[in-house]
Symmetry: C2
Subunit: 468 residues, 2 copies
């Protein structure tokens, strides 16, 4: 059996709002006999739905919920994992073979608290990288600032930029980059955030096309050095988490495509797992496509080569597990890397479980999978209503054609009675593309005028998180 | 020629008080033809004194002083290095061969600002690790928190402990460690500090012997969990730099010896450079001895082995240059590592320049070198007065016997007219030891009663720094 832990970045590093829904993507990884640990009771409708697709029986799984900690059941309090009564509960669930029954400990985020639970159970040896993660390695591997130094050392291409530890340094860095940059724009990145939510684009030119960029926040710089100084006076506390983190200031590359290469690092080496493409609309992550298509052979080779070198570099200092190397394909075809997420990304369930597991995309006829976020213009009443609509439209996943929609996570209302937010996968024939299928759903659910929400915010409330 | 930069940790990471004297140890590394960059006009008496020992002529060196930045001439403002007029001054000093004349860029601290200067001069390729340091690698390599994760991943022995990102985590960690620890004591470490100044020892037992420990600060815990909670309520902001850094909480090992193993990491590999011993009195760094003696062969092998593995691990993620792996020899003979300083340490000038260069300790008859801090009980009126006393006592360094005192840095008064603080080396016959020579100096200068200064503070004012 394996112990799967549905956690997220330690709240002491980055405190999220509500990860109940997003962490339940753990269900996609479950295999018969596994023990799943979640911060909340899982959503029964989603569990039944997901397991019906993976073919695992509910009674083949054990699901334990951690005791409520500092965040109730919204977040997994790392300290809850080693509350003695909970450790006893886990131990009891291992059955008569005890620790010997555990083949692997798998966590969505490599927290030291997971190592302490594994230690308490006597199974730390089955959590790859336990020694490293037990001493805060998760933070090291997931800093966007550390990434730039590690990538530079490994000779992996990155964009011009700097790591700043003070407002003075950030002001100087933004000024220097804007002076040299062809685009007249720079990207500011928080060290710890995800899906572009911690990125802000600073542009001089109001007309610049930025809709497709993974930077939730946008700032139009007033002319000259004053504009830069004003920006930092206002935003340094946000960018640095009140001086808590280094801030990345990087040249903005207009017209680039966002792609990624995922890898697995084990004690024996690394292996590439999948490549894909991220698409942003209104600077929000809209959808992602696996496997990656529409790139030339040299681009694909450069992406795999850089990703492999990064995976090897992260492995060399102690990281073990899945990691995602994010990159941009520049208009000229050059590939530059922008960050590494050394954790279970928001892509693993798409390609490992859904695309390769359920859909089997490489079998003939080949298929492709796109995962969409419910767009901010949609109003979906409930999970059940969405499934009914899929049935009515004939868009539910069909194992015979290996096309159609598979919802990836539970649908949680933003507030009681409000519309629900979630992500869903669409399996399709790459020759036909996914636009027609998506448009039929869009026609059904798009009722919110596009100018009634703030592109800088999560839809409406910011309650639902779609990244770790 | 080489460009030697007398800098220190970037003030945006750790803002020091006054590094004018300590950074002038750069003079010990100077070779004919070198260009030295300092934050202040060097002390003429010290320059002449040091060069008389190394045999370099003053006119064989070029010394440039950076423009005064945010800290006047007390600290080297990293931004000063790339002020255009200063870059021009450096370029002019390179002579007709320009960049081609530069064989190496050497900095006391691996700042990104040094890389920017090297870039501006076209010599970044001669600053080992430039790509890594240019993206903030200096901070990564010098964090005592990162150290524990990297050491654990490399399988190098460390003491039980945790990395804490919040007061709640620190409270939990201290409680858990105190529960298991035989000593009933833990050490709290700031991520970025030096010479034990950022360490605080928490002890339950008032009678515990802690005088010899490298922890400037001491706290006697009130009984029970309340004592731990009270400590963190008061000291978490200090320990974390107001949440800026992770905090190390580590089991205290009583009765241990503090030693180190230094290494050099280049593109081709690493090599061990020297081992030594640190001695603390009143929890302040008092003196250090090179080469290391008084250890068994297995202890020496364990120190070198762990140091080498750490040097290789740091090299693997991109660090280049000198580094020091600090360790403790436990009473049973086990060697555990406590931190890595990935910078030019406070030991390099002692062993490389003085012990091996000037004294040539391995030639027959063998010699040893100890470097003392002027103790808090001494009152030395001036550099000249100290040199006169050495002459009178017959303790000035004598090249014929290869014994005697070599002052390692300029002597700066704590305030105008106040006594001076500095460090000085004493070369001696290991059979005879250094105590007799030191005692004669002590008899001459010890006039401050031992209970009139605060062991938690730098002598009197904290103005003089003896670490980077």
């Amino acid at each position: 059996m394996r112990i799967l832990i549905g956690n997220h970045i330690d709240p002491s590093i980055r405190e999220r709002h509500d990860m109940r829904a997003w962490t339940q993507r753990l269900l996609w990884f479950a295999r018969p006999g596994d023990l799943l640990i979640l911060c909340c009771e899982p959503d029964t409708a989603f569990v039944n739905y997901a397991l019906a697709h993976t073919g695992v029986m509910r009674e083949e799984l054990t699901v334990l919920v951690t005791p409520a900690g500092a965040w109730g059941d919204r977040l997994l309090d790392p300290a809850s994992l080693t509350v003695p009564a909970f450790v006893e509960q886990v131990r009891a669930a291992l059955g008569p073979s005890g620790a010997g029954a555990v083949s692997e400990v798998f966590a969505l985020w490599p927290s030291a608290a997971v190592v302490r639970l594994a230690d308490a159970l006597g199974v730390a040896g089955r959590f790859p990288g336990a020694a490293f993660f037990g001493q805060g390695g998760g933070e090291i591997g997931n800093s966007k600032a550390n990434f730039r130094a590690l990538a530079a050392a490994a000779g992996v291409p990155i964009l011009p930029g700097r790591i700043c530890r003070s407002r003075v340094e950030a002001t100087e860095a933004a000024g220097a980059l804007l002076e040299c940059s062809a685009s007249g724009a720079v990207v500011v990145k928080q060290a710890h955030n995800g899906a572009g939510v911690g990125n802000q684009l600073l542009v001089r030119e109001p007309g610049m096309a930025v809709d497709h960029v993974g930077a939730r926040h946008l700032h139009h710089l007033a002319p000259g050095p004053d504009g830069i100084a004003e920006y930092w006076a206002e935003r340094w506390p946000w960018a640095s988490g009140n001086d808590r983190w280094p801030v990345v200031v990087e040249e903005f590359a207009p017209g680039a495509d966002a792609v990624y290469s995922e890898h697995y690092a084990s004690d024996d080496g690394t292996r590439a797992t999948e490549t894909g493409r991220l698409l942003y609309v209104g600077r929000r992550l809209s959808h992602q496509v696996v496997p990656l298509d529409g790139v030339t052979d040299p681009v694909r080779a450069a992406l795999l080569d850089g990703g492999t070198r990064l995976a090897e570099a992260y492995r060399a200092f102690g990281y073990r597990g899945h990691l995602s190397a994010d990159a941009l394909i520049l208009p000229g075809g050059a590939v530059v890397f922008t960050e590494v997420n050394a954790q279970v990304s928001g892509s693993l369930h798409i390609y490992q479980s859904i695309a390769h597991g359920i859909v089997d995309v490489t079998a003939g006829p080949v298929r492709q999978v796109v995962e969409y976020h419910v767009p901010p213009t949609w109003s979906v009443p409930s999970f059940a209503a969405f499934l009914s609509a899929l049935d009515e439209l004939g868009l539910a996943y069909d194992p015979a054609t290996r096309t159609g929609v598979i919802v990836s996570m539970p649908a949680i209302p933003l507030a009681p009675g409000e519309p629900v937010q979630f992500v869903f996968c669409l399996a399709y024939d790459p020759v036909q593309g996914h636009t027609a299928m998506f448009d039929r759903l869009d026609a059904r659910f798009a009722v919110v005028p596009a100018d009634t929400y703030d592109a800088s915010q999560h839809v409406a409330t910011g309650a639902v998180s779609f990244s770790s």
